[in-house]
Symmetry: C2
Subunit: 207 residues, 2 copies
DNA sequence: GCTCGTAACTTACTTCGAGTAACCTACTGT
DNA sequence: ACAGTAGGTTACTCGAAGTAAGTTACGAGC
């Protein structure tokens, strides 16, 4: 006497699968989770998951991709009105840490779990970082066009790495919210970045 | 006519297994590697691996643990003679990046692959970071005893995160060696850290 | 230089979960 | 009412983790 299994339009079913999978992966880890288990919790049979995502790996990538899109949109919206590089950085970091707090579980999944399993999930995770480094890199370049591109990239990587790590740390420190985390990162990196930008001609000077 | 399988004392066999496993894991990834494959390349049968390491997960943890120990020893040796916080940081970072270059493959394993699979491997990987943050944290505290411990921790996490990420980036940028990587990180973080330390009383002032 | 004890090893399984082939059924438009 | 199909299921195969029970190389003691 199981509940009568309702049919669903594809898009809706897919979203439901992603939500359930994200939750279980985050709870138990990718390896420890079986496709049967996910299927059961969705209320559907295993081959449906394969119909929608092709493989266990595909399902994982789907989860990551959805989160990636959401993070990108939120960050882009947050930095839209920024005027100075400092404001750009601060607003971007803030949006990032807020995203993490809202998605604690799936963030663990993205960062820690996803990477190991499968080269293609790895790529998807790298894609998230790429978004972030691109954003930061472009801010640096737009405010100091003469900067060595390699250096700009390195700076962006440093900032992204710092935030990722601090985000994980924040999970164990509930007293440290998005605002404080942002302050910590800015306190460490901003003087160094500002000092470097100062030495380079501004866009106005070059024009 | 396979080569006559030589027996070996336990310690030696164990080291050999770790070396082979580290190599194959790094090449193919943890999931894509089978225990039979490792066993074959060691020249031994699968149950031997289980005799020595208990499980596939155990073998992975063994690999990580060995690398962790090596990294700790090298870093500790490198910073032994440092006098100022800046010198501490610089020498420590340098040792870290040099370790990475020497262990490119296994570093990928440690950072990316290991984390996903298994909570206990996750702990081992966290242990590596813990060593690093402890080291940095203790440097900060020894030079500025009045610093808020939470802030010191956050700073340490930020620096470790920055280095981890930059290390991954360096793999794709062979032109960026340990020296340049160290310079980049110091350029970004040192002004901020120095500024913060300056505001606090020195150990001498407190004594 | 034989033989006894055991550390080091193997063969031959069981089990479990990813992935698949082939078939089924509720809903839609006509 | 009925046909067509989107959405779904049952019942398998296959490969790899893990294990039980048996086997062999090798040094110690006589």
């Amino acid at each position: 006497m199981t509940a009568p299994r309702r049919r669903m339009p594809k898009a809706q079913r897919m979203a439901q699968m992603l939500t359930v999978a994200e939750e279980i992966f985050a709870e138990q880890g990718y390896l420890a989770t079986s496709m049967d288990e996910i299927a059961e919790r969705v209320g559907v049979s295993k081959p449906m998951l394969y119909e929608y995502f092709g493989s266990k790996e595909g399902l994982l990538i789907g989860c990551i991709h959805r989160a990636r899109t959401e993070l990108r949109d939120k960050t882009a919206a947050a930095i839209a009105g920024a005027g100075s590089p400092e404001e750009f950085l601060r607003l971007g970091l803030r949006a990032f840490f807020e995203f993490i707090v809202d998605h604690q579980r799936s963030w663990a999944l993205l960062r820690q779990e996803a990477a190991i399993a499968v080269p293609s999930a790895q790529e998807e995770v790298e894609g998230i970082r790429q978004q972030q480094t691109d954003m930061i890199g472009s801010v640096l370049v737009s405010f100091a066009p003469a900067i060595d591109p390699l250096e700009a990239e390195a700076f962006a990587e440093i900032v992204v790495g710092a935030c990722e790590r601090l985000a994980v740390w924040c999970e164990r420190r509930p007293s440290v919210g998005p605002a404080l985390a942002t302050d910590y990162v800015m306190a460490v990196i901003w003087p160094g970045v500002a000092e470097r930008l100062m030495k380079l001609p501004s866009p106005a000077q070059l024009a």
